[in-house]
């Protein structure tokens, strides 16, 4: 306190206070100026609160056409719907839509949203419904559950599903907190638990074991994979050539590769690399001495049309059912290794083709299905003509992936999803017909010969046909029956992106080899969140249920070793406008924070580094100088931070003060470099009997960097 008796130090304290006040003013002022600018931008983007109900995003280059089509599409729903062009942001043109009161209910709103897919360049939409609360981050089944339960909450006018969100439109603003609380209770007190199981699991036993924990099951198809993807995956899996290996003394492991002769004239030679005609199989499952897997390199079709049967007549009994048997060699470091057993190859594709030409129940049914498929394929051909050349140039695999992602995303466009699935099935069916014809006439598969289905049903073509089970047939029939409706629905659509995907699927599946099917399966499995061999179940459970407890119970009850993954069921957010305003407020607070750091940094370097450096010259202990620097930094940054309302994620005022202390400490440590003080002048001042304050005021500060301190000091200095 004795320091404060000297005028200089009193003024120094005033300078610190002034720095905090002015710095806070500067930070808050900058943030407010930005806030005003953001407010204008928000208004031009979203209109005033309640002015519009929906914002439709379209690609900038489609702006004109999209505007016309949007007006037409919306007018077809209701003549009083108003559309106003908004501003263009980040390549997206926006259209603001005002809906009449009569449309503000769930079904009508979802119908309006579904119709938007027809708008050229459509790139999504955002509900601006007011007053509203949004629940986001929802799994599809959870989304439907939330929509149902939200609709039942008093004060809710409509619960509109879109993507992974539900926008809950309220009767009045006064109910917002109450409804938000009810929704929070619905989703935030719960968690979605995904149970990943081994392929051999009994799903019903799993369900029974977990029943005490479960509020409701969310799995859509019993595997947790979106339904369209699950069917697509099953279809692909059912078409891929299956390889079963019966091993000898040395069992195979999952992930290992084995080499088969394939269509090569002679068996693989140990030590040599596999030839292009060999088949490479990745082992996907091992059960005792039997392993099974998928072909990752090569195509087994020619092998199976003219199977290479081992001299002993076939070691596996199953081969008699219509496959081929070859010796399997382990693949070791890229070369053919020792033989590990006998492999049986089975191609459901060929078997299905043979079945198409057969008599009896299966033959007749399949003939009808093929007719349906032909119709769908014709429609597909017409639609494929709409695909833009630009889209067709893209890599097939990329677009196949994108298509799968679109399928998985759901996004409310169920019809489109199912259509794509149906088209995929129809393409597969047509391909099978071509193969059937090729088999019958001796032509190569895929040469375009569309002869009627006349295939030798018996052993003449290389083996008897596979017997289909009724479930498999029914599944395929249902899918193809749905295809007709779905294809019709798609006819109305003009979304170039989806059509591009269609064309890819047509091209891709039409020429699929076994390794390509395996590749596609992997894409589907990745997108669907797991392999067919690893079923998944999803449950909604209370937040307090521990996944590890579920795992223990499951392990004890079924002996399975599941992986259990828990995630929040959803998050309740304010409306899009409130969210944007909140986001802008975050930006404002962040800007204030940055300005606060700049102000504190500048003050430390310009004003205080000089004083800290001088204190060292005045023989103040180094630790005391460093401590003074830290305290100064904490005061400056903490003060400016608190007064300006600055905020950064995970950094409150206390954190800012700590950061300021660190900044101040660094300034103190580097003070002599940041603001060099002439030690000999300080020494001269001491030798003349001057006080430290006099030395700082008359000698040190005037020679230091210009700042607030030098400005204030100038008024009281005696020697100018």
């Amino acid at each position: 306190m004795s320091l404060l008796r000297e005028p200089f130090w009193k003024e120094y304290v005033i300078v610190i206070a002034l720095t905090v006040v002015l710095g806070a003013g500067c930070a808050a002022g900058t943030a407010r100026a930005l806030d005003a600018a953001f407010g204008e931008a928000t208004k031009s983007l979203l209109g005033d609160a309640g002015q519009y109900d929906l914002i439709v995003h379209v690609r900038q280059d489609y702006r004109e056409a999209a505007g016309r089509e949007l007006a037409r599409v919306l007018a077809s729903r209701h003549p009083d719907i108003g559309v106003v062009p908004g501003i263009t942001v980040a390549g997206n043109a926006n259209f603001l839509v005002k809906l009449p009161e009569s449309l503000l209910e769930q079904e009508a709103l979802e119908d309006v949203a579904a119709g938007l897919a027809d708008v050229p360049g459509f790139n999504g939409y955002t509900w601006l419904l007011e007053p509203s609360v949004t629940v986001s981050g929802l799994q599809p089944a959870m989304r439907d559950l939330v929509a149902r339960e939200a609709a039942a909450v008093p004060g809710v006018r409509a619960a509109v599903r879109s993507g992974s969100s539900v926008t809950v439109l309220l009767e009045g603003i006064e109910g917002r907190e109450r409804v938000a609380a009810a929704l929070r209770e619905l989703v935030e007190g719960r968690q979605v638990v995904e149970v990943r199981l081994p392929g051999t699991s009994d799903l019903n036993a799993v369900r029974s074991a977990l029943a005490p924990f479960v509020i409701t099951e969310l799995s859509e198809d019993g595997s947790g994979t979106p339904p369209s993807l699950a069917v697509l995956r099953d279809v692909l899996a059912s078409l891929a050539t299956r390889v079963r290996v019966r091993t000898g003394a040395e069992p195979l492991e999952v992930g290992e590769w084995v080499v088969l002769q394939g269509s090569a004239p002679s068996p693989p030679v140990p030590g040599a690399p596999p030839s292009p005609d060999n088949l490479v199989v990745e082992i996907a499952r091992v059960s005792g001495m039997e392993a099974s897997g998928w072909i990752v390199k090569g195509d087994a079709r020619s092998t199976l049309v003219q199977p290479v049967v081992p001299p002993d007549g076939g070691a596996l009994a199953a081969a008699e059912g219509g496959g081929a048997v070859q010796t399997a060699f382990r693949l070791v470091e890229g070369a053919v290794g020792p033989a590990v057993g006998e492999a049986l190859l089975e191609s459901p594709r060929l078997a299905l083709a043979r079945g198409l030409a057969g008599d009896g129940f299966a033959g007749r049914e399949l003939a009808q299905l093929a007719e349906l498929a032909r119709e769908a394929a014709d429609r597909l051909g017409e639609m494929a003509a709409l695909v833009t050349p630009e889209a067709a140039e893209q890599a097939t695999e990329q677009r196949a992936e994108r298509l799968v992602r679109a399928l998985r995303a759901g996004d409310g466009a169920t019809a489109v999803r199912e259509t794509l699935l149906g088209v995929a099935l129809s393409v597969l069916a047509r391909k099978l017909q071509e193969e059937t014809a090729a088999d019958a006439s001796g032509a190569a598969p895929g040469d375009g010969t569309a002869a009627p289905a006349q295939v030798d049903p018996g052993t003449d073509s290389g083996g008897p046909s596979l017997r289909f089970d009724a479930t498999q047939l029914a599944q395929l029939r249902d899918s193809l029956m749905a295809l007709a409706d779905a294809a019709e629905a798609l006819e109305r659509g003009t979304a170039g992106e989806l059509l591009a995907g269609l064309l890819d699927m047509q091209q891709l599946v039409g020429s699929l080899r076994d390794d390509e099917i395996t590749g596609l399966l992997r894409i589907v499995e990745r997108a669907g969140g797991g392999a067919a061999a690893e079923p998944r179940l999803q449950f909604l459970v209370d937040d307090e249920v521990s996944p590890s407890e579920m795992e223990t119970v499951l392990r004890r009850a079924t002996g399975d070793a599941p992986a259990i993954i828990a995630a929040r069921a959803g998050v309740v957010n304010p409306s899009a406008r409130s969210l944007l305003i909140e986001l802008l407020a975050d930006v404002r607070r962040s800007i204030a924070a940055l300005v606060a750091v700049l102000v504190a940094g500048a003050a430390l370097v310009l004003d205080h580094a000089t004083v800290l450096a001088a204190l060292r010259g005045l023989n103040v202990r180094s630790t005391a100088v460093n401590a003074a620097g830290a305290v100064l930094g904490a005061l400056l940054l903490g003060g400016v931070w608190a007064l300006s309302g600055a905020e950064l994620p995970f950094l409150g005022t206390a954190g800012a003060a700590a950061a300021g202390a660190a900044l101040g400490l660094v300034t103190a440590l580097m003070s002599e470099r940041l603001s060099p003080v002439r030690a000999e002048e300080v020494l001269a001042g001491q030798s003349l009997g001057l006080t430290d304050g006099q030395i700082l005021r008359e000698i040190v500060v005037p020679a230091g960097r210009p700042g607030l301190l030098s400005l204030v000091n100038r008024w009281r200095r005696q020697f100018r």
Binding site: E680, E681, L690, A703
Partner: protein
């Protein structure tokens, strides 16, 4: 006795700078401290001026111990003991006059009186005409004379001069020595001068204190010290004097 240094010890880590140094200066007396570089001469002066703390012993100024003084007393002590540095230590942004006024005005001397005293001090070092110049505009000798004037203006009872000519071009040394000899002759102030100038010591000093290895090795009138050549350093200075 104006100044009495009593068995003062000072170490910098393991290095001994002062090993029990004792000496005294009477009012108006000029004492030359001589010795090889690093023998502790400058450290002794800094201890007397309380610019450097010492480890053992005591220093008395006007009979009062300097060690236990509080900061305000130290500042008063410094105003009574002028200090002239080897490298002048002038304030570069101030004029010659302001450099001299600085200690006076901030020490509480009224402005008019301070200006009179500053000009008077400048006259004693023959620099009246240069009062409005800045240090950078002066020669080394002139700068050192300004530094002497700055110390003199405070009317000190004792002046400590730390090798005032060591940083000067040999041609400029004479003008500074002349001023110092004038000061010694007037006996208005006691002077403790660290120097290597043997002739200055012979002509102006009342006593010579020879130091070596942080200790006083001889103390007495210059002619006697150089004549009896009691120490190795005295022999060296004696030879220098003869040559």
């Amino acid at each position: 006795m104006l100044l009495h240094v009593d068995k003062v010890h000072k170490r910098y880590g393991r290095r001994v700078a002062l090993a029990g140094v004792s000496l005294s200066v009477a009012p108006g007396e000029t004492v030359a401290v001589m010795g090889p570089s690093g023998c502790g001469k400058s450290t002794l002066l800094r201890c007397i001026h309380r610019l450097t703390p010492w480890d053992e012993g005591e220093i008395y100024f006007d009979g009062a111990p300097v060690g236990p003084m509080r900061p305000a007393e130290v500042r008063r002590l410094r105003r009574q003991i002028g200090f002239v540095f080897q490298h002048f230590h002038l304030i570069e942004r101030l004029t010659v006059l302001d450099n001299i006024l600085l200690g006076l005005v901030l020490g509480g001397v009224p402005k008019e009186e301070a200006v009179d005293r500053a000009r008077s001090a400048l006259a004693r070092v023959h620099l009246q005409a240069e009062e409005s110049l800045y240090p950078a505009q002066l020669s080394g000798g002139q700068r050192q004379r300004v530094a002497i004037a700055r110390a003199l203006a405070l009317a000190p009872r004792l002046m400590l001069l730390d090798e005032p000519t060591a940083a000067l071009d040999p041609i400029l040394v004479g003008e500074v020595l002349e001023v110092m000899e004038d000061l010694a002759r007037t006996r208005s102030t006691g002077m403790l001068v660290v120097t290597h100038e043997v002739r200055f010591a012979m002509r102006a000093a009342d006593r010579v204190v020879l130091m070596d290895g942080g200790a006083v090795v001889d103390d007495g009138p210059p002619e006697e010290v150089f004549a009896r050549r009691r120490s190795r350093i005295a022999q060296s200075y004696g030879r220098l004097l003869v040559s």
